[in-house]
Amino acid sequence: MDLSFHIKENKPPGTFHQLQLPPIHHLCQNVSISYKLLAVEGLPFRYNENTTGVSVVQRLDREERERYELIAKCTVREGSKEMQVEVPFLVNVLDEDDSAPFLPNGTSTTDAVVEFNRKEGTVLATLTVCDADTTPIFPIESSRKKYTGTISTTDPWISETFRVDHIFHEIYFSPNGSQVRGTLHEYKLMLNKNISVTENRSFQLDVLVNDTEFHGPERSVMLHFNVSILPVSIQFPNVTYQFTVNRNAQRFAHIGKICIENCMKFCGVNITYRLLSPNASCYAVGILQGREDKFGSLYVNDSSVLLRPECKEIQYTVVASDKQSKKHAKTQLTITLEGTIIKKEEDCPECCAVNKHRAECEECGGVGVLTGKCQWRQGSGKGITTNYSTCTPSIRTCPDGTCDVIESKDPSVCPQDCTNGNIIGGHERGAHGIKSGHGICYCFPRQNCYCEKDDIKEPPCDDMC
């Protein structure tokens, strides 16, 4: 059995507990019971043998020490016999908000640069404030209200454009050897909305941190963020784009990607790509862009054009424009058609993924093929694996675990990556489509996909079928 007590810090000295002598003490004449408090040397506690009262002799400071582990010893004497029992006598010091916030390494200033990442929610910089007091995480609302962090500005643009996020966690201080809990408060300066590419300004943004329940001086600390918002340009690298396309390519064949300078670094900037073509009769190529994509994807939009001998080299102007700032950039794109036209195989499915075997796969074409024929990807064949065998219009892009913007245009392009229908047989489902499969995976667009070993014989179809 442990004796455990809480004493609020900063309380004046006094008795906080009375050790009781059991009633039998008076009845048995030759029995004596006495108590002692051990391990009190140097500690602010006293035990009065006469009154059996336990008292604290000075105000306790939790930030100095928050826990005292004493021992209460009881001695029972009966004649010459003596019995002793010791039990832990724990004193926990409860916290009061009696410490002011302070800067852990004296830094109240930091830089916050906005360049390519201009998206709402981006954390630009973080500053920390310490407090020797504890901050309970439960219930969290009251702690958040207690320790505030507000942007102090009169500029409505700043209040609209930035916000401060506050999180805190427990840290330990070690004044004179014992470990005491305190709090590290983190204040993150964040974008509260997307910033235009043309925005270009620098200023100091101040955040007032206030320990609302501390009543002493210096209850608040001012944090300074040196904010610099750099303008970014919308321009193509000084090259023109050239791609060759095989005349046997089918609709939705991937041609390539178009990207302005630093496009992969941009965030929160909505760049859209368009093609302008002077030569309307040879208009074979289109450009698409996924919701999260930062580039444009070129694809074959009309495969019949590829078969026209008069269309050899097709010129386009590519326009990239930013919706918010209306800024745009242009560059040249040349598509060269190559290859001799091959006869399309009869009786082939429209979708490569339907083919279950290499032979029928490589004999047939299908939606999205680059050179007129589907490609067979031979897998490792061991268990359920991402490297499953399958028939695809292009091994480079399908299956790759991503249902990209071109594949999502038509269920027949790459059902392996895009299906949300049933997948039958040993498999693991990805965010879309098949993440891994057993043996050969084949799909019937808008119906099921199957992953199964090839050695489950299905009687071959005789010529009557």
């Binding site: 309970p136 995480i137 439960f138 427990e170």
Partner: protein, 343 residues
């Protein structure tokens, strides 16, 4: 109220029946309505005013002759949640501390389990069939027994499939449904199977990991950040089922320093049942790792402020509970002995 046709009718043990009887009597009905207002759920932990407390205490005294005062609930009953709501309505106003939940609302566990499986017959079936092979993994062997019992295999699939749905493609699972089906599994499947699945004695980490994964931790309790244990308790107390399971656990797994088996109730079966009853609630406990039999809640006492002690108390209910530790150890030895008996 209960003297009819000259004979004293037995008190209805379950609270739903008791409530029906009480509501038929105007006086009891009025008292019961008064107690409903006292129930802490309604007052959201607001400290009751002095006269409210007196009114509530008088209401409870008035219930002395009503069957509501001593009614209980069964773990496997239909409308268990309704029964528990009645129980806590009657008992809520007298919860001593925020943490000690007084007595368990559940009927005495001893006469709870209606069916007894001839586990040895099943064991013979498994070891006789060429399928089981000579697996040294006791937890795997427990699944072989489970697969021979229709209810076990069906309800095991029922919880596992719903606890893993959505999570496989990087999404999030439906924890509420997962909890419900975990509770169904531990309530409806004979304990001969659930105990062996959950408390299988492991000698290696592969077996230990299978044991740890049995209740699908990624969905049943794990989260990206460990919550504070006070938050876990707060969520539990607000839910009648969790609160009841916690009261049952506190009662049946109460450690007692002086007692040889470490338990104040000396009933390992009741403690195991109470522990399994916690699975599928806000305070779902589980093995801490794959190389020890230590169990714990998924929570931390960091940032507890002045409630550090209460928080430590919640955590130590599981992590340093001698009664629970002995109970789990003895079940594992029992399973080990049964396995060795079959080989």
């Amino acid at each position: 109220l209960l003297c009819r046709a000259g004979g004293l009718l037995a008190l209805p043990r379950d609270c739903i029946a008791a409530e029906k009887i009480c509501l038929m009597d105007p006086a009891c009905n009025a008292t019961y309505q008064a107690l409903e207002n006292c129930s802490l759920d309604k007052t959201r932990f607001l400290p009751l005013s002095l006269d409210a407390r007196t009114r509530c205490r008088d209401a409870k005294l008035d219930l002395r002759s009503s069957p509501l005062l001593h009614c209980k609930c069964h773990r496997r009953m239909r409308r268990q949640k309704h029964c528990l709501r009645i129980y806590w309505t009657v008992h809520s106003s007298f919860t001593h501390g925020y943490f000690n939940l007084e007595t368990s609302p559940y009927e005495d566990p001893a006469n709870e389990e209606p069916w007894k499986i001839d586990y040895n017959k099943l064991a013979a079936l498994v070891s006789g069939s060429h399928l089981a092979g000579d697996s040294a993994n006791p937890c795997l062997k427990a699944t072989h027994f489970c697969s021979l019992n229709k209810k076990c295999v069906h309800l095991r699939t029922y919880y596992a499939s719903s606890c893993t749905k959505g999570a496989e493609s990087g999404g999030t699972c439906d924890q509420h449904k997962c909890h419900k089906r975990l509770r169904q599994f531990f309530e409806k499947v004979p304990e001969d199977f659930t105990k062996r699945l959950l408390f299988c004695p492991c000698q290696d980490e592969l077996c230990g990991e299978r044991r740890r994964k049995t209740i699908v931790p990624e969905c049943s309790f794990q989260d990206s950040i460990k919550p504070n244990c006070l938050l876990l308790l707060d969520s539990c107390i607000k839910d009648h089922i969790c609160k009841s399971r916690l009261a049952d656990f506190q009662q049946n797994c109460q450690p007692a320093g002086m007692s040889p088996d470490g338990c104040s109730q000396h009933n390992h079966a009741a403690c195991l049942q109470a522990y399994m009853g916690m699975i599928g609630t806000a305070m779902t406990p589980n093995y801490v790792g794959n190389s020890s039999t230590e169990v714990s809640l998924w929570c931390t006492c960091k940032n507890s402020g002045n409630q550090q002690e209460e928080c430590d108390q919640i955590r130590s209910m599981f992590i340093s509970n001698k009664c629970l530790k002995n109970t789990i150890q003895s079940q594992m030895h029992l399973s080990q002995a049964t396995l060795e008996g079959q080989e």
